[in-house]
């Protein structure tokens, strides 16, 4: 009896917490396809707001994808070799380097953005281009790629693999390409999902680094929250959900698969 009571009250509490998280998301999705949110769903269902968002903000969505994939390309090209080198070298220096590249996670994005603005704000062409935002995203997401790849190296004996390939006469570059990278693949995939998801949703840095001509999706969202009617803002959020939720699901499925191995 007593156990039953405890179970039920805990269940109700958990359900309340879940509804706190889910109800606004449902409100947002329904508002995005409602003719008039104030009058409720009875006013009819429509895709006009989604269409309007596309008309107004398609550019931001496109730019967000461009930046996310450019960020991914750079973190792959820079981060994967670095993770290998840090793992092989080990020791104190590697730990210090890892510590330094992880700092952007502990420092608010606002501070990093100010630092970039103060340093490169006068380089007009660079400051005005989307590359300026890209730089911020690369700094912010790099630790996720490096650590996710290093985590895989820690579970397999990469040194022995590397040395046996070397004893067969493979050059360092061939070993990296044919032995190291294929073995690091789970970490590279997990890191990539993380990098793309974070880049698509990044706001703190991006708000400071963007210009009227380089607006990303979260910047457009903030813009629509401030100046558009609720239905348009909701439809825009709906588009964001459609983009980000598959990535999140993929990330969690991937984590589960890894946990089972």
């Amino acid at each position: 009896m007593r156990d039953r009571l405890i179970f039920t009250s805990q269940l109700i509490f958990t359900l309340l917490v879940a509804s706190f998280l889910v109800v606004p998301a449902i409100l947002s999705i329904s508002a995005g396809v409602t003719v008039n949110y104030f009058r409720g769903i009875q006013s009819g269902v429509t895709l006009q707001w989604v269409a309007q968002v596309w008309e107004l903000y398609a550019g931001t969505i496109l730019l967000s994808f461009v930046i996310a994939f450019a960020t991914l390309a750079l973190t792959l090209a820079v981060g994967v070799p670095a993770a290998y080198a840090l793992h092989i070298r080990g020791g104190r220096m590697s730990r210090v380097v890892e510590e330094i590249i992880t700092l952007p996670l502990a420092i608010p994005g606002l501070a990093i953005a100010l630092a970039l603005l103060l340093t490169y704000g006068d380089f007009g062409d660079f400051r005005r281009s989307w590359l300026f935002i890209l730089v911020g995203h690369v700094i912010f997401t790099m630790p996720f790629m490096v650590r996710s790849v290093m985590a895989v190296f820690a579970t397999i004996d990469i040194k022995t693999l590397d040395e046996s390939a070397a004893s067969l006469g493979a050059s360092p570059w061939r070993r990296f390409r044919d032995v190291i990278v294929p073995n690091a693949l789970p970490g590279i995939l997990a890191g990539s999902l993380m990098v793309v998801t974070l880049s698509l949703g990044e706001f703190n840095l991006t708000w400071m680094l963007h210009t009227p001509l380089t607006k990303t999706l979260p910047i457009g969202l903030a813009d629509s929250y401030a100046s558009m009617r609720l239905e348009v803002a909701s439809a825009y959020t709906l588009i964001f959900f459609v983009m980000i939720i598959p990535l999140l699901v993929a990330m969690q499925l991937f984590a589960e698969k890894e946990a089972k191995r």
Partner: protein, 271 residues
């Protein structure tokens, strides 16, 4: 090419990118912070200037409240979900973790839909009491937003920690005559302490430094990130905003480093 030089070559791009776009700018930020009319004393302004100090205290209180409430809520829900198997459990877990990928701006909008001018809470209170309850655009709205942001993260950490608990210890305590509360207080909660520290530190650091949610809700909420933003963009007060953001960065970094040395696991802020 020798193996040694290949390894160095692998590290080179990261060194260049980090030096050029992180270390150099951060150094510049620190120098700018001391470049105001007060010089190095600009760094003390966060403590000596009454307006900045009030904002700092406000921010710390908000972050502390967020952390405590998030930990309580997440522990009750996380422990419940990890200890019981019932139909619909997986759906409930999915509902509690799907906001993980929401950036701060979107969280702000969720709070507007709940407690804003056209929000659900205002709608209910209007029907029940004839008065519209609107608090999204105040520090209470921000508090709710940070709860929304932190609960999913902390629940995941707590669930993982509860899973690793040794049930045998609780059974031993019970068999020795400890009541259910005593078991929770003396066995379960102490064993979860590292998880509380790690996830609490993330919640605290995020609530200190996050900017998106506050920005969406209102520009006149009195917290440190908004102060830095307005000093930089509206007042063009570069040295003060640099000094304040260095101060904020040191606080969040210190909290996370402290938590990491205590709990032994990697800890990072987000948002």
């Amino acid at each position: 090419m020798s193996h040694r030089s290949f390894v160095w070559l692998c590290l080179l791009p990261l060194a260049v990118v980090t030096a050029a776009f992180f270390l150099l700018p951060m150094a510049r930020l620190v120098v700018t912070g001391a470049g105001g009319p007060q010089g190095l004393a600009g760094y003390l302004a966060i403590l000596t200037e009454p307006r900045y100090r009030a904002t700092l205290i406000n921010t710390v209180l908000l972050a502390a409240a967020t952390t405590i409430v998030t930990l309580i809520v997440a522990t009750i829900a996380g422990m419940f979900l990890q200890r019981h198997r019932f139909p619909g459990r997986a759906v409930l877990i999915a509902m509690l973790t799907f906001p993980l990928a929401f950036p701060g701006v979107v969280v702000g909008f969720m709070i507007i839909l709940l407690a804003g001018r056209q929000g659900l809470i205002g709608d209910f209170s209007n029907r029940l009491f004839g008065e519209k309850l609107v608090f999204a655009y105040s520090i209470y709205g921000l508090f709710l937003g940070y709860l929304y942001f932190s609960i999913p993260r902390v629940i995941l950490t707590i669930m993982a920690a509860v899973q690793k608990l040794d049930i045998g210890l609780e059974e031993a305590a019970r068999s020795l005559g400890a009541g259910p509360w005593a078991v929770q207080r003396d066995v379960v909660l102490p064993a979860l302490a590292p998880a509380f520290v790690a996830s609490g530190a993330i919640a605290f650091a995020t609530a200190m430094g996050a900017f998106g949610t506050a920005f969406t809700l209102a520009t006149n909420i009195d917290v440190l990130p908004m102060l830095i933003y307005t000093e930089f963009t509206l007042a063009a007060n570069f040295s003060i905003s640099a000094a304040l953001s260095v101060g904020l960065g040191i606080i969040t970094w210190f909290i996370l480093a402290l938590a990491r040395s205590f709990s032994g696991s990697a800890v990072a802020a987000a948002g």
